[in-house]
Point group: C2
Chain length 473, copies 2
């Protein structure tokens, strides 16, 4: 047995150092080889091969067999590192995050309880304090990390429900009135999910109309609230979106805060994408006063180039949050140590904090600001290109690095022909190693691009413009 | 800028291969050095050092600085790899899982949508089918992976609620009766969390009494259901626990299934720990007929030595599950591709499937069975030791590799003195590089050990026995 297990684990007694060093070295060599030559590889591959090896799971396999299969897996995975990938909000991961995940796996600590992650539990609390400061909050603020923005948004609304319904027990059946909350019609799907999960019903997530820039209409919001009150319902929260997924639109967050104050509603800001603007001294003026909101969710897994998942949920009043939420885990020691599993929607949790800390320690906040500035400059420059090109149309002037555009409909083209022409255009770009998503948006199809990759510079933009111009010649 | 970013990312154009090779090599060398010498290191360190470097986050740092800080982080993290760590359910990670997490981070795919993880979305569905077969389910079964067992249990109960209340909308306020469900008084804290989250209220999670082996009392379960019905409530589910966290007790799952059939209740089996028994040909006879249950949660992150988090949620009827749950994400292309984010409690999700597949591909199912057999053999042998040692008492004969024991209370010892003596005993072991948890259990304190590490063999057991015997001499 000892001989076998030394092929599968790093012996804690140092019996197989040579073997594991070789194992890791070959894996790393392949990884770097793959990651370093991504720009001429397929961007979102279609699966064409035979993957039946996947089911050969009864007996052990060796390194040579693993390397061979991994090569197939690299080739068939989405290629977010490529400079030409300007599709969804999927970023090239920084090497601090990659080695952070590596180390996290090797020490296999568990964010459930202090006993299972003494240093990392402390680090998570410390680093959240840093982000609280960056978002303008004072020392009463705090929070938790979650495995993704959906869980952060759901937990924020759960806490809002418990506090505003004054029930830690969370029994909606006992509520005196039907609880409802409000969000943009273009809010993230996690907000709708929250309606189903929290037992208030998806129909009671009131989707407020947006204007032609994709921002929540303040007038509609007011009248939606008033109507709910007249109908005898119990509004308890408004969700602002600071950077919608589809068009990067920014809700008028400060105005929404005033409405929350007036109606005594919880204000949650979904800043998972746009919150990164606060990292740049040149861009932060477009940020609202986050610190007035009751909760803010933010995803370093997006514009901070941290590998997925890595999300932060901040509460303005950390004590109030903890009191309204805590469910104690009975199987840990009776100590005063903070057990983060008691304060999160998750129990056992992957350590996201080490890779986040390593990413910021490696790159530094100021440099994140510079990358964001570069992304914004490229976006502005591409916007100008779209506006001056007679064949293209723009959805609206982008506020972040997310831009919707498309070739204009030609005279005499049927709706079906036009839809096909958009898809043809996407395909043309794909064969030039450019991936732009084609998404449904307000009942029409648009090309969405996100300038997120720091290797996408003026030179790459020049190439992109030439490729597009060539298409229309 | 290009020069700077080449310190932070793997250039997709191959500009910094030498630099990143060196970066990863040094990180790997340190990692292996640390992991290979764990058995003489602290097991659950107390934090004594000054960690103020954590806040130096404005400017970039180089590899030398990173290696120095990482050394501190290793030294202060819980040491699950050590042979002497027999505390909580925290396992030594296998190298397939470690490199799986490494590769997962480097390709940074997103399990939200097929477009963002074409191969890995397919792989997750395939591998879940494999696990469905291993658990005895037929082809109608399916499911999703979640970031931890808490999310798996919550999602199972959410689906149960939607189906039994016949409401995909999830509005508990509109329910004709108060929904309730039943679980062991020793169920996992995620089950209580589910009560709060789903809007039915923690008070409506009915905790059924257990017998002196920690198993749910079938008589009490029946009378609890009858009482709820008499009180006009709406029972919708029973949760069986196949391996409680504190004592590894196994509920009488097949009997509970009969009750579910009789009362038309959803049956969810929390087999996150004990489900692994099905991997061993020698142990699987103790497993119930999982395939009759409506849903089963299982954690490869525990007894399959996969790094955290890695959980699987299986539904007997995959189509029914999807129909009762799906919330479509509007920002992906209109295709027929399956987008797993629409079927999970999470949206963007860390890829747990690559490390799981790599772990099983590396080790093979049969070898997992052998490791489990070894763990069980050691547990039986230690049980015999505790039973024949006059200074020790056992809670109950263990059914899994989890064992509660303690030094007996001495004549004349006060309750306070006894509690301190247990803590002294734990400390004594700690200084011999053995970590056993001290947990509250049925209003008393017990030492809990879990024989999970495959390096903990007969030889290690002999050492442990000698250390304990020396204490009482």
């Amino acid at each position: 047995m000892r001989q076998d297990i030394n092929n599968w684990f790093i012996s804690p007694n140092g019996e197989n150092t040579e073997y594991v060093t070789d194992f890791f070295s070959e894996i790393i060599a392949q990884l770097i080889d793959n990651s370093s030559n991504r720009s001429q590889e397929e961007l979102v591959p279609l699966l064409r091969e035979d993957f039946s090896f996947i089911n050969e799971l009864e007996e052990p396999h060796d390194l040579a067999q693993i390397l061979q299969k991994l090569s197939t897996i690299y080739d068939n995975s989405m290629n977010a590192s490529s400079v030409g990938y300007i599709g969804q909000m999927d970023s090239i991961p920084n090497i601090g995050a990659i080695v952070g995940d590596l180390i996290t796996a090797s020490i296999n600590n568990n964010m459930l309880a202090n006993e299972m992650s003494p240093f990392l539990t402390w680090l998570e609390q410390e680093l959240i304090q840093v982000f609280c400061r960056w978002f303008g909050f004072d020392k009463r603020a705090g929070g938790v990390m979650t495995s993704g923005g959906t869980l952060a948004n759901i937990q924020a609304l759960l806490v809002a429900r418990n506090i505003k319904l004054n029930s830690k027990d969370g029994n909606v059946y006992n509520s005196s009135k039907q609880p409802v909350f409000f969000a943009s019609e273009h809010c993230h799907s996690s907000i709708l999910k929250a309606g189903m999960f929290l037992g208030i019903g998806t129909e009671n997530v009131i989707k407020v109309k947006t204007d032609n820039r994709g921002k929540i209409s303040i007038d509609c919001l007011r009248s939606d609230i008033d109507r709910s009150l007249q109908e005898g319902k119990m509004p308890f929260a408004i969700v602002s979106t600071f950077g919608t997924t589809n068009s990067g639109s920014l809700d008028e967050v400060d105005e929404i805060q005033s409405i929350c104050n007036q109606y005594h509603l919880w204000h949650h800001i979904d800043a998972v994408y746009g919150g990164a603007m606060t990292l740049s001294e040149n861009q932060k003026h477009i940020c609202p006063s986050f610190e007035h909101a009751d909760s803010v969710s933010f995803n370093p897994q997006k514009w901070m180039f941290v590998s997925k998942t890595c999300s932060i949920l901040i509460f303005k009043n950390n004590k109030q949050f903890q009191n309204s939420f805590r469910i104690a885990a009975p199987y840990t020691s009776e100590t005063n140590a903070i057990n983060l599993g008691e304060f999160g929607i998750q129990g056992s949790r992957h350590t996201s904090v080490l890779k986040l800390w390593l990413s910021v320690y490696l790159i530094g906040k100021k440099s994140f600001g510079k990358i964001i500035d570069l992304n914004m400059k490229i976006t502005k420059s591409f916007t100008a290109f779209v506006l001056q090109n007679e064949h293209l149309e723009l959805y609206t002037k982008p506020e972040l690095n997310i831009l919707l555009f498309r070739p204009k409909k030609r005279v005499g083209q049927s709706e079906k022909e036009y839809k096909k022409s958009l898809s043809d255009f996407q395909n043309y770009l794909y064969h030039k190693y450019i991936y732009i998503s084609l998404i449904p948006w307000k009942n029409e199809m648009w090309l969405k691009c996100i300038f997120l990759n720091p290797y996408f510079d003026d030179n790459e933009l020049k190439k992109l413009k030439e490729i597009i111009e060539a298409y229309f010649e």
